[in-house]
């Protein structure tokens, strides 16, 4: 019999997700029901719309993940849910579902930090990754460089001072009238364009913090002055600037901190140019790159299951009076 079976639930933003993970590393099933089509109408995630969809989707998604894993609830050892950071109304749906199931199935419950989930996504495919490593966490809500020195021990080296990288993608895509979400659209468009416009690389030489607001403004100003420039070229040039900043800082951090390797996580880590650039840059500096599958970069519950099992081994279960915390930070 498999041991250490975790049912994990993730509802921090606009994906309703559940997974069954064994011992924090073997994914038995991972179901993600995306609301992206619903939110595309509004050009972004509308919290109330997201929360309503989570209520409708939560039990069907959990039922499906149990079926796909081929297990019964008796087999579970732990029920986990993301408790923050994220949208409060969305988080509460996942936390309420997980606590209720833990109660009726008489299993321990644990509340998980979504960011810690992203940091652990790499271990789903590479359980023996060597530490210390530098993790670049990039999504619509976060842009940060984290040093994982040991398991469950982190230092946040830098983060964005304004827009998250994913937010910059969304805003540029919206300005160009390309739709939502911006990341995949710009990524696709960039493949048929040339990165010939030299957009600024904000703060590329300074520290580990990021700033993407100025880059977004530079792109918008350029488009105003050059209305005939092809969207493909703008997309490729903008993406090159973002990736250049992300990769330069990540590699510098890894060298400065004497890290063994580099990982990426978060929705923007699904970006093909970023993945390519990390794979390219690391060997030149003697660093081991690890790039998780795209489905483990974007929000998913398998990564929550991975972090949940690690945390549970270390801290034990959470209290059933646990609520959601929309502003939870990476535990340092």
């Amino acid at each position: 019999m498999t041991r250490g079976l975790v049912l994990a639930i993730e509802t921090s933003c606009d994906e309703t997700a559940a997974a069954v993970v064994a011992e924090g590393k073997h994914v038995l099933s991972s179901v993600v029901s995306s609301q992206v089509d619903i939110h595309a109408r509004y050009g972004g995630v509308v919290p109330e719309v997201a929360s309503r969809a989570h209520v409708d989707l939560i039990t069907p998604v959990i039922a499906q993940t149990l079926i796909e894993a081929g297990i019964e609830h008796h087999d579970l050892d732990l029920v986990a849910a993301t408790r923050g950071p994220g949208l409060i109304g969305s988080l509460l749906v996942g936390v309420s579902a997980a606590k209720s199931l833990a109660l009726v199935w008489d299993k321990p419950f644990i509340g998980v930090n979504h960011l810690e989930g992203h940091l652990y996504s790499s271990f789903l495919e590479e359980p023996d990754l060597e530490l210390p490593m530098i993790i670049l966490l990039v999504s619509g809500g976060h842009t940060m460089l984290v040093s994982m020195d040991e398991h469950l021990t982190y230092r946040v080296l830098g983060q964005t001072l304004d827009d998250a990288a994913g937010e910059a993608y969304d805003k540029v895509a919206r300005y160009l009238g390309l739709g939502y979400p911006g990341g995949p659209i710009i990524d696709k468009l960039a493949t048929s364009g040339q990165a010939k416009i030299s957009f600024p690389r904000p703060m590329i030489g300074e520290g580990y913090d990021f700033s993407f607001s100025g880059l977004k403004t530079a792109v918008i100003n350029y488009v105003r002055k050059n209305p005939d420039e092809l969207d493909e070229n703008i997309a490729a040039s903008f993406q090159e600037a973002v990736v250049d900043v992300l990769v330069t800082k990540t590699i510098r951090a890894a060298k400065d901190q004497n890290a063994v390797g580099v990982c990426i996580g978060g929705g923007v880590a699904a970006n093909s140019r970023l993945r390519e650039a990390i794979l390219d840059a690391c060997p030149k500096e003697g660093l081991k790159p690890f790039i998780p599958s795209r489905s483990y970069c974007t929000d998913n519950a398998a990564m929550i299951g991975a972090a949940a099992w690690r945390r549970f081994q270390h801290d034990g279960p959470s209290n059933l009076a646990t609520g959601a915390d929309p502003n939870l930070r990476i535990p340092e």
């Binding site: 509004y42 050009g43 972004g44 995630v45 509308v46 919290p47 109330e48 719309v49 929360s51 309503r52 989570h54 209520v55 409708d56 939560i58 039990t59 069907p60 959990i62 039922a63 609830h73 409060i88 109304g89 509460l92 749906v93 936390v95 309420s96 579902a97 606590k99 209720s100 199931l101 109660l103 009726v104 199935w105 008489d106 937010e167 969304d170 805003k171 919206r174 059933l320 009076a321 646990t322 609520g323 959601a324």
Partner: protein, 234 residues
Amino acid sequence: MLILGIESSTPQVGCAIGGHEGVLASAHSSRGKRHAENLTPQIEFVCEQARVELQEISVVAVDIGPGLYTGLRVGITSAISIAFGLNVPMIGVTSLDLVAYPVRHCHKLIVAAIDARRDEIFHANYRQVPGGIQRISEPLVTSPEDLSAELLASNDEVQLVGDGAIRYADYFKDLKRVDLAEPGLAFPSASSLVQLAHAKALREDFIKPSELKPLYLRKPDALEIDKQKRRVDR
């Protein structure tokens, strides 16, 4: 038959357990914005007090709203999850029915009114019928002015009940023929829920967890969509 009832559509959150013998145990708290923190321990507590195992529950009843969305979703998600986890049927009751229930012995027109925030009220009308009361209007959302004008225009003696009536008491207190119920009856009670659900359970008026839908009565908020757009456009 054992029924677990959960209500969470106002600043209060509560649950109760009961069945043929009536309500065996109940718990309520109303510190606001702590529905998720309070509800799970409350469920554990009422089971202990009623000396039943949660696994013995045969029906999960839930307040489906209307009410304050975030709290409402905590109760509904918990109820759906428990019913799913135990593989038992559900019964949905509106929050307005729950607020009207304790004043069911009154002969007047009963108007249940729950605070919808943003200067609005969720409300519905009830009449006495043999053996209880019956809702005679669909739950609606309206402004307190409009509700007060409607009450003024009717010829009925009215019993107004619920936290909406209390919050907007200024609109109602000078109306002739309108009585405001005491603040102790302002919130839906989980005990009322179990009693109402028991009657429905005897008629096998059940639904599946997947069929249960919250009663929001408002579209996802145009205001919020504007706010979100501004945030992204900043």
